[in-house]
């Protein structure tokens, strides 16, 4: 029946998400089908009512001024002020480019690692460090479906000394990723998995060696378009051991 084909697409039609060809097909169907056209009308009314009801809150003039002042204070100065400054800066920049570039990347690298350390410590301090609690990778991995725009594999752990505690969604520089928590002995190790991006590689090159940051150990590598960080206060050997298992699992 034509209804079976077109009726499930009504929302997409009203949201203008069908292809041009499908839009034409739906238009033709609605002209002929009273049932679907009535249904479309009701959905459109709900959509319009939502739009009107949703435009509800307006910021106060005082709040607007406050934010404008803050934004202006952090924005670049007016053009007529910085044109001569720019000319001078060009000379300085020529000399300082390499130094500044290195400093910036080091600073960004430190910022990235500090953000990971914050995530790890905040997680351990939380009364609910994980949102999915299970030592079973077949429970933890599917929990992330629909929450992250990628998927990943987790290793089998029996006999390795590591225990999976669970996981949650974490954000690194506003990008969502998986934050998994493992135990080894009395230590907690965080495993972060994010989509790899050139800027991460630039400031934090993927290496197989373990680095020491703020007394934590961290190992990072990329595989399959993803960037992995294994982070914790356990020994470098323990961090490397878990990293090896993750890499073998297809990481």
């Amino acid at each position: 029946m034509a209804d079976d084909i077109w009726q499930p697409k009504l929302d997409q039609y009203l949201d203008s998400e069908l292809s041009a060809e499908e839009m034409r097909g739906m238009d033709a169907h609605l002209r002929e089908c009273a049932s679907c056209s009535g249904d479309a009308l009701r959905r459109m009314q709900l959509k319009r009512a939502t739009r009107l009801a949703g435009q509800r809150y307006t910021p106060s003039a005082e709040f607007r001024r406050r934010i404008e002042r803050k934004v202006a204070a952090k924005s670049p100065a007016r053009r007529w002020l910085w044109i001569p400054a720019l000319a001078m800066a060009a000379v300085v920049l020529l000399v300082a480019t390499i130094t500044v570039g290195r400093w910036y990347e080091r600073s960004r690298s430190e910022q990235l690692l500090a953000e990971l350390a914050d995530l790890h410590v905040a997680d351990l301090a939380s009364p609910t460090p994980v949102d999915v609690v299970s030592s079973d990778r077949h429970t933890v991995k599917p929990w992330f479906q629909g929450k992250l725009p990628f998927t990943f594999d987790l290793p089998e752990l029996p006999g390795t000394g590591y225990t999976l505690v669970g996981g949650r969604v974490a954000y690194l520089e506003h990008e969502p990723g998986a934050h998994l928590l493992y135990n080894v002995g009395a230590h907690h190790i965080s495993v972060f998995i994010f989509r790899d991006r050139p800027e991460i590689e630039r400031v934090f090159p993927a290496r197989d060696s373990t680095r020491r940051v703020l007394s934590f150990h961290v190992e990072s590598w990329d595989a399959g378009g993803l960037r992995y960080f294994v982070f914790g206060d356990a020994s470098p050997e323990a961090i490397q051991g878990l990293s090896r298992l993750l890499k073998q699992a297809g990481a």
């Binding site: 998400e17 009512a49 939502t50 949703g54 509800r56 809150y57 607007r64 479906q145 954000y171």
Partner: protein, 166 residues
């Protein structure tokens, strides 16, 4: 300031509190200014800044509490769309419901559904923009929208019944 009114409206709907909404918008602009280097030219600025706001909300106390109350449902596949109820008292809901009732119903919808309704129907974002903002696949956007509209309709029905009997 770009998108100031839209961001504030969205923040207030998420937090349901003026002070928290102001804090959220202020933090969003601060993070956007600090992290402008991570914005990739050519990508969608609106989705980028809405994503900052939403992520900031999710890590706030209100955001954590709001998202923990949402039942976990499988969002792998878009739910099969079914016809809305027809020729029932519910079908004339919107004729009876005033704007305040729609707003009250929208307040009742879980935040995970409220946000997708606001982004689609109020901000008029495309599914791709919503997917970028929420960092989920497009299939999940469609599935959430379908559930969100169903939840809104149910909340509206309840409001209408309460008005009739109240």
């Amino acid at each position: 300031m770009p998108l100031f009114d839209s961001l504030y409206n969205f923040a207030h709907w998420l937090t349901q509190n003026r002070d928290e909404a102001e804090d959220l918008v202020q933090e969003t602009y601060a993070k956007a200014l600090r992290g402008f280097g991570s914005f990739q030219p050519g990508t969608n600025f609106r989705a980028w800044i809405f994503r900052i706001l939403r992520n900031t909300f999710l890590t706030s106390r209100t955001g954590l509490a709001a998202t923990r109350t949402v039942p976990l449902e499988s969002e792998d596949e878009p739910e099969q769309t079914v016809a809305v109820s027809r020729e029932t008292p519910e079908s004339i809901l919107l004729e009876q419901a005033g704007q305040q009732q729609v707003q009250a119903a929208l307040e009742q919808v879980p935040v995970i559904y409220r946000e997708v309704l606001l982004l689609c129907d109020v901000e008029e974002m495309s599914y791709q923009e919503i997917a970028d903002t929420l960092a989920v696949p497009i299939g999940t956007v469609m599935s959430r929208l379908h559930r969100a509209r169903k939840a809104l309709r149910a909340a509206l029905e309840q409001k209408t019944r309460e008005t009739k009997h109240g």
